[in-house]
Subunit: 335 residues, 2 copies
């Protein structure tokens, strides 16, 4: 059955069970932000053929990923989700089951993080497009901004990088994913694919930051953003916004066992430029950074420190590779 | 010059001046909702070839209309705008001047209503798509919902209906717009075209409702929605949500002099089913409705009343046309 068979009212009836009660049915949805909080709003668009495709992404995964990308932006601001709106553009020949699985995937990710769909819009188009806006609330004193990194801050990444990009390569080039009987290699490959299909927005980091703030005897800003456009991009963006620089150590880059096993030659460039890992890159005082990395555990690492000079340098402590400048040109290009 | 020549950073530089200061540059935008207010969120998508086209809509008008549609949804909830996010999907061969004029048009409408762009996302696609999410604030006691219409409420429309649809017909069928030397006919045609190109969201109604609430000695709910999908659709939607019916009088339908002059034969059906007039349809006690219509002036009218029976009937007081049932099937279909 195609969505053109269902008609607009039929589509709305299909979607309604996936929306939070009492939010649909008016021109807008009503939300109740907690008293005294700032509101955070973020938007992310996924387009068929560019951000996902039937070759690499099931409709469930499109739903999961589109929600995860937006919740990751909220986490990157220090904000807890209040809800999302979903703007869908759909071709008339789209199978109804695709649409249904999209919502199942969105809901799976939303439920995991305790939030839901509060509104949206629906239109036809020649290309499937999922435009999500996520709303969150953050205490004024806990906003994570890109522009407040301090000289000598440690730069923490909350998990492995490059896995999502490597997983996409495995999905795109099926020949990479054949010819092994080794269980551990198969498991590593599957881990990379899962990293691509079901990224985990790091909202779990926020209560840890709350604890560290509470137990510290001083007040410090936490600067940062998520690494959706790559780890190198995130570090450069933070440095530019804060008018500082950074020294990043090659040996401290958080490369997973899966990535270094499956793609030993390209692991480092995937880690720096792969993108879509949806981890957080945070700048904070070193003593607190050490505690943070300890609390997060596997994958988390201090990768470098903020410097007064505005260069962003990637150095090799073992002096086997030359020092290079990181910039915004090496990452993923939209246009 | 095409946007592919500009590159992503170039596009962002072009867009930045049209955004409110201090909102761009992080993963999300920060907004400050007034204390004690509810938050209203609404989303609207416009797709090239479906909601606009180069034949009928300049990029300025696409910008104006996309903002107006969203602000109208806020007005329909009783909410004052806090800001909008803009999610753009653009073909790489789009002229830069198109993108620039889109933002000039959005800003013109936003400035008129005292609000601005706070964030967004940008991606390429094969079809130009503008997905806007608008955020507003409303006092808990002033929320306008579809579901609270009361039996015997008067049904007020805040202005003429059908003009936008008629204007679109003039733009689509250029032969309709020829062969007249009569100044007044030309002026009427231009009025219809302007109604289509630059609809005015009725945020100006909200302070009038505040005044009427203050000066009234009783508390009453105001039910309603906007008429973006047509006047008949709005009345039927309100009745269904409120589990009531309505009797609408043909002779009271708000038909503009321009519409009845240019399209005398189809004026009534345009008024009922045309859509995109972005007026408000409000249900409230008759004595207050009379004051409201008086305060709004030209175009505003009481078109009928809410009934216990759930039928929505269009009656002819002069008994020249049969009574008909209005339903959701006659309006604009997306799928």
């Amino acid at each position: 059955m195609l969505i053109s068979d269902l008609g607009e009212q039929g589509i709305l009836r299909l979607i309604q069970p996936y929306c939070l009660p009492n939010t649909i049915g008016d021109d807008g949805a009503i939300l109740h932000p907690p008293a005294g909080c700032e509101l955070v709003v973020t938007t992310d668009i996924l387009v068929d053929g560019l951000h996902f495709s039937d070759r690499t992404t099931t409709p469930f995964d499109v739903g999961w990923r589109s929600v995860a990308a937006n919740l990751s932006d909220l986490a990157a601001m220090g904000a807890t989700p209040l809800g999302i709106t979903v703007g869908l553009s759909l071709p008339q020949n789209l199978p109804v089951v695709w649409l249904e699985q999209l919502y199942v995937g969105m809901q799976a990710c939303l439920e995991r993080y305790g939030t839901g769909i509060v509104g949206g819009d629906l239109t036809r188009s020649s290309v499937t497009t999922v435009a999500i806006t996520a709303l969150g609330a953050v205490d004024r004193n806990k906003i994570i901004a890109r522009s407040t990194a301090q000289i000598d801050d440690a730069i923490v990444v909350t998990g492995y990088h490059g896995d999502s990009h490597a997983g996409l390569q495995l999905l795109l080039k099926s020949e990479l994913n054949k010819f092994t009987d080794a269980d551990d290699l198969r498991a590593h490959r599957q881990r990379l694919i899962t990293a691509h299909q079901h990224p985990q927005p790091r909202l779990d980091i926020l209560p840890i930051l709350d604890d560290l703030r509470l137990s510290s005897d001083r007040i410090f800003p936490i600067s940062g953003m998520d690494s959706s456009d790559g780890l190198a991009d995130a570090i450069v963006q933070i440095c530019r916004s804060s008018q500082v620089g950074a020294i990043i150590s090659r040996s401290s880059l958080p490369i997973s066992p899966a990535l270094s096993t499956v793609f030993p030659d390209t692991a480092q460039s995937s880690t720096l430029y792969g993108g879509e890992d949806f981890e957080l890159v945070l700048c904070l005082p070193k003593s607190i950074a050490l505690e943070l990395v300890d609390r997060i555990g596997t994958g988390a690492a201090i990768v470098g420190r903020i410097t007064r000079s505005t260069d962003v340098l990637l150095v090799d402590d073992r002096r086997q590779q030359p020092t290079i400048q990181l910039d915004l040109q090496s990452g993923f290009k939209h246009f």
